[in-house]
Symmetry: C2
Subunit: 198 residues, 2 copies
């Protein structure tokens, strides 16, 4: 019933996480009804991001500059490095401005099931950063899942003997929970009570 | 923590119905991770719709042409006219290809609470279409809500004595329900059993 252009937009929106075919249709109608106040700003915002997005070659964060805003922020302590699985996790921690240091995004977690091996993650980049000096503590902030913890122990092993303190997020995270879903209070507690990897 | 461009996109997405700040962030990360397969197609789809969208001056549908695809479809019976509150309702009925005629979108429903009066809806346009001749039956397909039914009776009154059959959707719609949320089976039944306005 709708034109091919409108159908194409509905399908593009329906592929976003959290939207299905029905909610995508409602979103399209919302946009069509509000051409100037919703459709145009969204087009502009997407174009701006598409034109400027970049993956930070230092930490793996996604930003509109490379190095990213976190890596170039002089107020952050370069001696503190927080390792996370995904960009979403970096954003979750940084949203609450809980961590005064910098980050390193692995780009996933070790998973036998999904065939993700150490060489598929940005672990070599982390080792190089630590080897380059200036880092005193590495906080391993993986998800409290089986795969997250496996990844944490693997990374901890790789960093052993490099002369840096290696810590992990305190328990306080619900077991099986994922970082991006935690409230800021729990995140703050888990960061504050971080302890050395045994 | 993210750049102004990414923040702006997150906010634009968070204003869509069905998305909140958190799901908007996840959608943005999804798009950032899939620049070529998700971000670029979405930008293209939105631009195409923005560039071509039009409100049909005949029926009020939103399409990429005016008159819209429904009004120009020669296979549709011009003697059958289905009146709906919103474009979403037209789409809901037409998605299942249940109705062989054409449509008229009122652009809302009468509502004392929201201050929507008859002159705020496209009722004069409907009366003109019927007065122009060629229409034999008008199906009033308003929502089964108090305001929808009030609107239906008002529109039925306006069309009285114009020499057209006036019918309404059969009960079969759950009371209090809204058209766009019904399954196609219920919609089909309600259309098939439509009856004259008493």
């Amino acid at each position: 019933m709708a034109s091919p252009e409108i159908d194409a937009l509905t399908q593009a929106l329906a592929r976003l996480p959290g939207l299905g075919p029905r909610s995508a249709r409602r979103a399209v109608l919302h946009l069509l009804k509000r051409r100037e106040t919703a459709l145009a700003p969204l087009v502009r915002a997407l174009q701006a991001v598409e034109a400027s997005m970049a993956t930070c070659h230092v930490c793996g964060n996604v930003d509109t500059r490379d190095p990213c805003g976190v890596c170039t922020d002089a107020r952050r302590d370069p001696a503190l490095l927080c390792v996370v699985e995904e960009v979403a996790d970096l954003w979750a921690l940084d949203r609450a401005r809980l961590f005064p240091g910098r980050y390193h995004v692995l780009g996933g977690r070790l998973s036998a099931l999904d065939g993700v091996r150490p060489e598929d993650l940005n672990i070599d980049g982390l080792v190089s950063r630590v080897a380059a000096g200036g880092v005193e503590e590495v906080v391993l902030a993986m998800n409290a899942t089986l795969e997250g913890q496996t990844t944490m122990h693997y990374v901890a092993e790789r960093l052993e003997g490099m002369g840096v303190r290696i810590s992990q997020l305190a328990h306080g995270m619900p077991v099986g929970g994922e970082l991006d879903y935690l409230d800021e209070g729990t995140l703050a507690q888990a960061l504050r009570a971080r302890r050395p990897v045994a």
